[in-house]
Amino acid sequence: MRASSLSHPTVRALISKYFLPVWLSRDQYQLAPRAKADHQELLRIDRYTREHKMPGGSVCVFLVAPNGNVLGSLRVHEATKADKLLSLLEEVIQREKLTPRSAEAIKATASPMHTGIQNPEREGLLLHVMTRLEERRAHYGVSEDWVELSASEWRHFLPGPRTGLGDSWKVPDEVARKIVQYFYPPSPNWKAQATTVRNCTLKATLYNRPRDEGVVHLAGVVELSHPFGRDSPGVVKASVVGVIRYRLTDDTITSFQMASTEANYAWLWRGKPQPERMSIAVEKLR
């Protein structure tokens, strides 16, 4: 829905002007546990739609009146169509004689997005992993995951005291896998638990050491299995490179960037491979 009806300019404008918009993940994926008040209110709304024989379900739009009554609802297969969602919004706006919210009220209730690592470690390296499909499914947008490496983990990306220029070392599998497990594209099966890392080789090379900075180059290959849907097996094959910059005085990583030079995702649909080019990128957040 985010790429379809929720990105439609008129739908967006009506939701923003007349309603208090909120999204809620049923499984709280990548999010902190749901607050009790949210949970109870969600149960109440689900119960209301069931008792009033209104459309409901886990992926659904609900328009809830100030008194708690549900004014209308649409299941995802309808709500994803901009014209269907638009007609529900317009009907409720007219029927309830809604007036636009003030700009001040909208500003006061808008909240920054809240996904990411909860309570990051002080000495941890926080990485942002992004992927996208580049062809038929480019409209799925960019997927995001966050990985935190502890100090003992991120130190494997830096050279040892006796490492010379041009020397290479292998990043331990358990460290590399923490990052590459998220190298699957946005798809109907979004769960990282569905991924199996089949192969991952990440080599680091001390490339440069000008003045007070060190530069490490990364190069590697990755192969993951990750289903497209529930029962459609898929495989990611990627070659990646990266550049890490660190301060020689205290071994602090100042920059970490990695990206695919070549990446493909192929999943099977009715036994036929559906290959698609994809891109992968990793950046340091903190």
Binding site: S16, P21, S25, G141
Partner: protein, 81 residues
Amino acid sequence: MRRWTIVAVVAILASGQGSGAAIDENRLQAQVQRLHAGAAGGDWKHIPWVASLAEARRCSQQEHAPVFLFTHDGNMESGRC
């Protein structure tokens, strides 16, 4: 010719550059920035989402405006949905 080779080797040593595989840093940065911009963008992110359902319901009663609630599985913000 030999003189130029010696000059090149001395220049590399002086620069502190090793013999690891060269990486096109501009291309690498461009790809990271392109995906970063794609993650930050998305028209739906311009909707002034409220932080929680309880907060939306509380403000709804104060303002006499209804709530638009979208429930789903996964995480809409990160594209893992």
